[in-house]
Amino acid sequence: MNGLDERLSLPRNRIRTREKARRRERTLSGLKRRENALAYAFLGPSLLLFAIFFFYPMGKSVYLSLHATDPTGRVAGFVGLDNFRYLFQSDQFVQGLKVTVSFALLTVPTGIVLALVLAALTSGRQRGLSLFQFAFSLPVVLSVGSSSVIWMFLYHPSLGMLNYFRSLIHLDPISWLVDPKRALLSVSLMTVWMNLGFNYIVLSSGLRGIPDELRESAAIDGAGPLRVFARILLPLLSPTLFFLAIVSVISSFQSFGQIHILTLGGPMDRTNVLVYSIYQEAFVNFRFGSGSARALVLFVIIVLLTLVQFKWVEKKVHYQ
């Protein structure tokens, strides 16, 4: 009886399940299509904006860099790689690259070491430290515009406070921003100050992420605070330090505002960093083609730095 029933009903069942499966397939692919459409609707606004203000300009930059342009921005003719050839033959551009690299070397290591010391000193749980944490984080909200103007006045040769403080300890006044030997140093000093908040916040949250037990067990083993810092905290902090180093180098290559306000690239191009020279070439001299060539050099440098971040040091940095 049972067997007969089974035999009889089996084909019918099979047909039914097949049908059901087919229907489900249809609705599934319908669902999938609907999800696809919905996803693109969600992505639409961002995609559209990126296409107009990012992907198209990237292509346009390459196009412009291969052309000569008239001062209104219209393309005057194809010049091939001439813009680039001209760049690397020009002393001004090569010196600008040197200035950009020196600026990064002056600001990045100093800024990170300073922030690291402050972060280490305020990482404990003693009372009152949160007040200092707030103070050291504060520069993070300052813009390059207002910071530069404040320092412009601090650097003022006759009425500025920095020269006044020097006079209090019987030092001669300095022409901070006009002396070709000192201008880049002065701009760097201001930049280190401006970036301190960001560096401090990143490093102190990195330190806070390291479990207390590691610190304590090392202290129980008789390691002094300096030793704990050098042997345990520093290696564990290395991913954060590395992240910060790359981000800082990239942002130092993008510096513009402080140069534009404090020195205008001078004296004698000693502070004429890459982005400032792009600005000058395109928006002061109205040579958009050769300005774009400079912008692409910046692009290549930043992409290389980012690749370094992803590939090379990934292996060398200690991860927990």
Partner: protein
Amino acid sequence: MRRRLFAAVLYVVLALCALAVLYPILYTFSTSLMTPGEASEYPPHVVPHHLYLRNFVDVFHLVPIGAFIGNTFLVSIVVMLGQLVTSSLAAYAFARMNFMGKNLLFALFMATMMIPWEVTMIPNYLTVRGWGWLDSYPGLIVPFLAASFGTFLLRQFFLQLSAELFEAARMDGCGHVRFFLSHVLPLSRPALGTLAVYSFLQMWNAYLWPLLITNTDKMRTVQIGIAMLQHQETTAWNLVFAGIALVLLPSLLMLALGLKQLVRGMTVGALKG
């Protein structure tokens, strides 16, 4: 005893460092309270001898700082709202939906985060000029309405929301749109707050783009206005610093209210390595 001494030394060192770090800000606020005579005296006064609040009125006559502040507030708020909408939508698609080309598109989004904006500024300037948007609000606002940083930040946050919640809602027949609006967004307030603080400060502090595309006092933003102050009347330092102090206030307020949000935003990159 030794520990006490160590702590005392630590506090003294930290206090000196804090003083050095804060000095430019303290100097700004103290000079903004000086009378014109006091501000130009030499040797300079380190602290003002009386509180001269008239500067905050007079600076409005020196430059149209009211218009600068109004412009920048408008631009920053609109960009902030725009980024919250575009980024949360895109982030939801990347975090919770399956669609063709997802990985490729995500890689494209991430690529825009790594490439500095300065590289694209010349064509963008030409585009905006071609549309007749120079010296206008759309020119200041529209190029910044989408943010790959915001998308990344929110995606990371949406991925942390529990998967069970998502399954349960789907089981109850809740579609993506309703789930996004009534569950994901309310649960993501902290991350949205971070992005809001970020995008606001980004626009409030922007320098290069407003410098390129604005050329009348009517459209200038605060940072450009502030930089103009130094050429205006170099003798009236008290007024210049009153202007700077006014421009710094919203940023400092943001810090007091939103330090946690800021820290979260900065560490999202660091922790992911």
